[in-house]
Amino acid sequence: MTEKNVVTAIRDALHDEMDNDERIVLLGEDVGARGGVFRISAGWMEEFGERRVIDTPLAESGIVGVAIGMALHGLLPIAEIQFADFIHPAFDQVVSEAARLRYRSNGDFGVPMVIRTPCGGGIHGALYHSQSIEAFYAHIPGLKVVMPSTPADAAGLLRSAIKDPDPVLFLEHKKTYRAIKGDVPDGAYLTPIGSADVKREGDDLTCVSYGYSLHTCLDAAARLSEDEGTSVEVVDVRTLAPLDVETIVASVRKTSKAMVVYEDNRTYGAGAEIASTIAEQALFDLDAPIVRIGGPDIPAMPFAGPLEHFFMEPEPDQIYARMRELART
């Protein structure tokens, strides 16, 4: 066990994997000399050589498209998109190519690749360095979408993503990078893709979340149990696609109350799938309507402090408040 923050956990896991497998190459904008804008690959161009740590031209569709080609010919590319907001030009390469190659070739051509990208807001990133993109990508059959919220999960899920025979979109919430610390087991353990995790046990209500919001929920849950002895179970989705329905539904069946919390724009966000799955499978177990909290339906987060704060928290301490309210109904 070693205490690390999320970005260090990711860096260490990535470094070990590159050390152990010559087939792995890293490609993206500024991943070389600059070591990435978050310094994850600092020094690696010297360590692993320019052929394994590739500074690409400024062209996201090309980055993903080239990575697909590499994956088709024996390499294990890890494509870094500098900010999730800039993955959109590569949407076609992800939807039409990476996610469809195995299917369209009837199983003949697999694309073992990982796309890593920092997402999420609350770091003064404004409209184009704050976006949540999981809802777009979780809806693509053939693509796995992972979003860890703790250092241990980040390392374990990243290793699983690299070993996965199919394309995996690996989402890293920027605000967890340094803010979230935790014990990380030593050794090359794997955290399975497709399994949610109960981060806090409880009986009075189930709160389902992921990414940075999960920590806001955990914090609210802790305060609520101190303040009023309410016991909230907090489920970390961890993998958006494929979604671990069993774990989520089992928790709701136990607590009979559900809330779903996510940072992304509320409407048609990932929380809609989670909430409606609960409604379909656990309707008669519910003692109260499902509470769904998502971000306002405005284009990502404005830059000015007051505006950004409004996005993250339209009402003061809203998650705590809604949790408390739901527990009481």
Partner: protein
């Protein structure tokens, strides 16, 4: 002045009479397959076919310089001649036309002419235009990384050159001097959009300079010219000198697909004039001039090919359809595979 036997054009390219015949056989097969597939479509047995007629010269001319086994092929939907050269059989082609379970490209999942074959190193292609261009660059990067003696061939039409992916794929290939050859089959139309509305230049090849590698223009109806350009590009690629963009001026004799009607955008005169430059006829004439082909050989070849194709159609037609709920398979790698 030294006295030496005047070398023939094909001799100068290192092609033997047998090579020429084999190439001719491919052109003929492609043309006959094309006509047969269209008949199947008219008969209502094939909902969708993509004609290649007119492109055979540049397809087979360029493809002939590739090596089966070691090289990697990224054709586009019109490339019947390319995949035949890569080793796909008429039977396999018709398994695709009839969307049968054993269709090597996709097991009937994709439209016909969306080529793919693990066995032949033909990378599965999709409908979205130009997406294979960055793939070709990535594969070529992997070839170089693994220090393999392989060359990547990537074919596309003039329309594809307008896509961002085309730009990004060529640029990356130039930067890393990758062993890849880009072949543009310029038939002057993207469906109905004439070249003048696709680009403000005469030659797609003129863009290569901006990516730091050579661009070559060849007459797509001249099989040997296409082969020569590809051969040189292939040597450059293997020598580590990087990519080449080859533009073949060609023409599509038939509508875009069986769903298209080209009368609204091409005059019959234009089409007829182009047919007058038929690469199959022209190559046949060349072979006759050099006593490699005569009517007897041609007739026999044609007859045997027709038989082979008729048998292929029958066998493919009788082959099993995909099992309905197999539609759920291969979204992800399956356990134990």
């Amino acid at each position: 002045m030294s006295t030496r036997v005047a070398e023939t054009p094909h001799g100068a390219l290192g092609l033997s009479a047998d090579d020429l015949l084999a190439m001719y056989e491919l052109l003929l097969t492609s043309r006959l397959l094309d006509e047969a597939a269209l008949r199947q479509n008219r008969m209502g047995r094939a909902p969708f076919v993509v004609p290649a007629a007119g492109h055979e010269g540049c397809q087979i001319g360029t493809a002939w310089a590739m090596r089966r086994g070691s090289d990697i092929w990224l054709p586009y939907y019109r490339d019947l001649g390319v995949v035949l050269t890569a080793g796909m059989t008429p039977y396999e082609v018709f398994l695709g036309v009839f969307a049968k379970a054993d269709d090597p490209s996709s097991g009937g999942r994709q439209m016909p002419a969306h080529w793919g074959s693990r066995r032949l190193s033909i990378i599965s292609g999709s409908s979205p235009i130009a997406t294979q261009v960055p793939h070709a660059a990535g594969i070529a990067y992997a070839v170089k990384y693994r220090e393999e003696d392989a060359v990547v061939g990537c074919w596309f039409g003039d329309g594809a050159t307008s896509e961002g992916d085309w730009h990004e794929g060529l640029n990356f290939s130039g930067i890393h001097r990758l062993p890849v050859i880009f072949v543009c089959e310029n038939n002057q139309y993207a469906i109905s959009v004439p070249q003048s509305k696709q680009m403000a230049v005469q030659d797609v090849a003129s863009r290569a300079e901006g990516y730091g590698f050579p661009g070559v223009v060849v007459d797509g109806n001249d099989v040997l010219a296409c082969y020569g350009a590809m051969k040189e590009a292939h040597e450059r690629a293997r020598a580590g000198d990087g990519p080449t963009l080859i533009e073949c001026k060609t023409y599509r004799f038939l509508p875009h697909t069986s769903d298209d009607d080209d009368k609204s955008y091409r005059t019959r005169e234009e089409v007829e004039e182009a047919k007058g430059k038929d690469p199959l006829v022209r190559f046949g004439d060349y072979l006759r001039e050099h006593d490699v082909l005569d009517d007897a050989i041609h007739e026999e070849l044609q007859a045997s090919k027709k038989r082979e194709i008729d048998d292929a159609i029958q066998a493919a037609w009788d082959a099993p359809d995909p099992d309905p709920d197999s539609a759920l398979r291969h979204v992800f790698q399956e356990e134990g595979s």
